[in-house]
């Protein structure tokens, strides 16, 4: 049984690694958000694994998952809002060009 927990955690770690790589390496705001989404998905996997294999009786574990999902949705809504605003004013959502803005 514990092997399944370890496997799930390993997959979570993998998703997190890929997500981190993406968030750091991409130049475009929208792509960076995809990296963040993947990292949050990794968190989801870990949370469900912990709930399932360690505390299946505590539904607050599942509640936690719902909250992380909410965070994902909220992050996307605000992120895309910012992307639209930036694109409108600058014609670009490339992060390199954000740096250029900072001077």
């Amino acid at each position: 049984m514990v092997i399944e927990l370890l496997l799930a955690l390993g997959i979570g770690a993998g998703l997190f690694g890929v997500g981190l790589y993406g968030a750091l390496s991409q130049t475009n705001l929208v792509m960076i958000m995809m990296g963040v989404e993947l990292m949050l998905a990794a968190a989801l996997v870990n949370l469900v694994a912990f709930w399932r294999y360690l505390h299946p009786e505590a539904m607050s574990g599942q509640m936690f998952v719902l909250i992380v999902m909410t965070v994902m949705a909220v992050e996307m809504a605000v992120g895309f809002g910012v992307a639209i605003a930036r694109f409108r004013s600058r014609g670009s959502v490339e992060m390199e060009e954000a740096r250029e803005l900072k001077g």
Binding site: L66, M69, T70, A73, V74, M76, A77, F80, G81, I84
Partner: protein, 121 residues
């Protein structure tokens, strides 16, 4: 029927559907291959031969709805478990969800007032 068995059935249905489609395509393939001819691979645009690429940065006009949808969509994650226990919990549940939905509805009203619910032109 245990839950796990149900998932297996669903998984089997998916695989079975894929198999069915592959068989169908195999059958169709046995009838003949595609013949490469002039202009056959150009997308059909009512008789005009338009070779322009169309994969461009596409301007959607409903992004106001999309933004609010992304956030508002989460509401149903909470509503389903709530609906299941609604009868047992009674008035508490009604008030609880009432407050929650009122909060969200405020967001919708704000978006509405600012013109998120329209075609952006």
């Amino acid at each position: 029927m245990s839950a796990m068995f149900q998932y297996l059935v669903l998984f089997g249905l998916t695989v079975g559907t894929l198999g069915f489609v592959l068989c169908l395509y195999g059958l169709a393939r046995s009838v003949g291959h595609r013949r490469a001819e002039a202009a056959k691979d150009v997308p059909a645009t009512s008789g005009s031969l338009s070779r322009d690429p169309v994969w461009v940065r596409y301007h959607v006009r409903y992004y106001g709805y999309a933004l609010l949808f992304l956030a508002f969509d989460m509401e149903m994650a909470f509503m389903y478990p709530w609906a299941v226990v609604y009868r047992q919990e009674g008035l508490t549940a009604l008030l609880d969800m009432g407050v929650f939905l009122a909060i969200l509805f405020l967001g919708l009203l704000y978006g509405w007032s600012q013109g998120a619910f329209r075609r952006q032109r």
